[in-house]
């Protein structure tokens, strides 16, 4: 009795798997509504057919370990296929996706669910299985089991017809963007595109290197802007206090007459000569929002201090002489009683999504925070992103062009995207952006999204930050040196 229940349950599972996902897909969605699977959908559908086929093996030959093991492997691979396919579209806006939608979810999402149900069902069947269930001889199928087999054959026959029309005989293969299904041969498209040479990668377009200044070219003469005028360094000195790590950005707050220096994890407030440190802390960048390495820093309203990671995650601190050191243990690694953490979150972007940043700037006129992208091994675009301070949400994004009245000219086919902006500061509606590539200072009109001036600064060595103080620009280098140039 128990054994009959086991095989009847399995026969029903095979029937359900054959009829609902695979049968409906081919006879209803395919033949009636013209849906045509893409190459990944085909493999997911075939994987379901294989799980059902292994079910037929078990019905005929009993639950031998090799059948159970193979079924688990195929279903596990199916779950992976479902995640791989769903992942392509998971981050899109609501309602967007690929091809047909069923009950509010696209077909590939259902594949993930169905494979998960397969794995769970196998677990239940295994719980019902005992050693004596393993057969030595092929079983005689009951009418229900035979029905499951016949239905399976009919469903596979339908799929064979659809596969011949949609993908063709070997070596033709399924397509990434298939054509609507038709029984008319004149509408059939057979493709060999998937056999074309293509690079093999694990993470694909997400395999983006972390930013580095190791190999950036520094000579302004070889930069993308032709004949960049030189701006002289008025003063040069070294930061007068010890810091952990290397400087990653610089900012100045005229209200408190303090400089902000960020390092990979450190936040330092210093006097207006950068000779004396007023307070500092080292942020614990893990165990919560992953801040990575700080690439930029800025003073915000009411003395708040912002540090932005290269991955556009940020932490917002407020200086407090009476900060609770015990409560702050979770936020900081050193100097627990000098700041309070106000928030820790992430800036989300669109155009800048696949790029890191090494700068942050605050514009009090618009109450906005800006970041500037740096090019990487996959994406090379100079994108400015503006975030509203009130909700820290993306409010504007744009690329730059060379201003017509600037007198600047790009060399040949060169573009502004070659610059590696490592520091930015804003004054009077203009952003001053320092590029470690070609040691060039760009002056950007934030209203017209244009570069209105560019200057080469001789002697810079890996600049990483910039701050405006009065009529001067203070540029900090990786080695802690400060270069002061006049603001034009």
């Amino acid at each position: 009795m128990r054994r009959n229940a086991l095989y009847s349950t399995l026969a029903l599972a095979v029937l359900l798997l054959a009829v609902i996902p695979i049968g409906v897909a081919v006879f209803l969605l395919g033949f009636i509504y013209g849906d045509s699977p893409c190459v990944m959908c085909w493999e997911q559908r075939i994987g379901m057919a294989l799980v059902a086929l292994i079910g037929l093996f078990v019905l005929r030959y009993g639950p031998k370990p090799k059948y159970i093991g193979l079924a688990v492997l195929v279903a596990a691979w199916g779950v992976f296929m479902g995640i791989r396919h769903t992942g392509m579209h998971a981050a899109r806006d609501v309602g967007q996706g690929f091809s047909a939608e069923i009950l509010g979810a696209h077909t590939y999402t259902w594949a993930l669910f169905i494979y998960w149900v397969c794995v769970a069902t196998m677990g239940v069947l295994l719980l019902m299985t005992k050693k004596e269930d393993i057969e030595d001889e092929p079983r005689t199928l009951t009418p229900l089991e035979s029905l499951a087999g016949v239905v399976f054959l009919v469903v596979i026959a339908g799929n064979i017809v659809q596969a011949f029309a949609s993908t063709g005989p070997p070596p033709f293969m399924g397509q990434g963007d298939p054509v609507r299904f038709s029984f008319a041969p004149s509408h059939w498209v057979w493709s060999l595109d998937e056999w074309s040479p293509a690079p093999i990668s694990l993470r694909g377009r997400w395999a983006i290197d972390k930013p580095s200044l190791e190999a950036v070219p520094v000579d302004p003469v070889s930069g993308p802007i032709a004949r960049v005028p030189v701006i002289p360094v008025k003063q040069q000195f070294t930061i007068g206090f010890p810091i952990a790590g290397t400087p990653t950005d610089l900012a100045y707050d005229p209200a408190t007459a303090q400089f902000l220096v960020t390092t990979q994890r450190g936040i330092y407030l210093a006097d207006e000569t950068l000779a004396k440190m007023n307070r500092y802390t080292v942020v614990d960048v893990g165990f919560s929002v992953d801040l990575g390495r700080f690439g930029g820093g800025a003073f915000l309203d009411k003395g708040a201090v912002l540090a932005v990671g290269e991955n556009k995650s940020y932490v917002l601190l407020r200086p407090n002489d009476k900060a609770d050191a015990g409560a702050n243990f979770r936020y900081f690694l050193e100097s627990f009683d000098k700041f309070d953490e106000m928030s820790r979150s992430r800036f989300g972007t669109v155009r800048a999504r696949m790029m890191y940043v090494m700068s942050a700037a605050y514009d009090p006129a618009t109450n906005s925070i800006y970041t500037v992208t740096v090019p990487n091994n996959k994406v090379k675009r100079l994108v400015l992103s503006r975030f509203d301070r009130r909700d820290m949400t993306l409010s504007e994004e744009f690329s730059l062009t060379v201003g017509a009245a600037s007198g600047l000219e790009l060399s040949g086919e060169r573009t502004l995207d070659e610059f590696v902006v490592t520091g930015a500061t804003i004054a009077d509606g203009r952003m001053y952006a320092i590029s470690a590539a070609y040691n060039t200072l760009l002056t950007i009109d934030l209203a017209t999204h244009t570069v209105i001036a560019a200057h080469a600064i001789p002697g810079l060595a890996r600049p990483t930050g910039i701050a405006v103080k009065g009529d001067d620009l203070y540029i900090v280098g990786e080695n802690g040196v400060i270069w002061v140039v006049g603001r034009e």
Partner: protein, 55 residues
Amino acid sequence: MEFLNLVVIFATAYLVLRKPEKERTAFRLLVFSVLLMVFLFSMATRTGLLPGVNY
């Protein structure tokens, strides 16, 4: 290639249902189908083998 794989699956099911004494042949065809499916999916996703999401 999907057409080929489905034909093999059909043939395998036919053996299981109508010629159960051909278990060894049927199992070999089954393994072939599984490997072909894995190969074809990997071919289609070789430019990004892992799920294309933020890592």
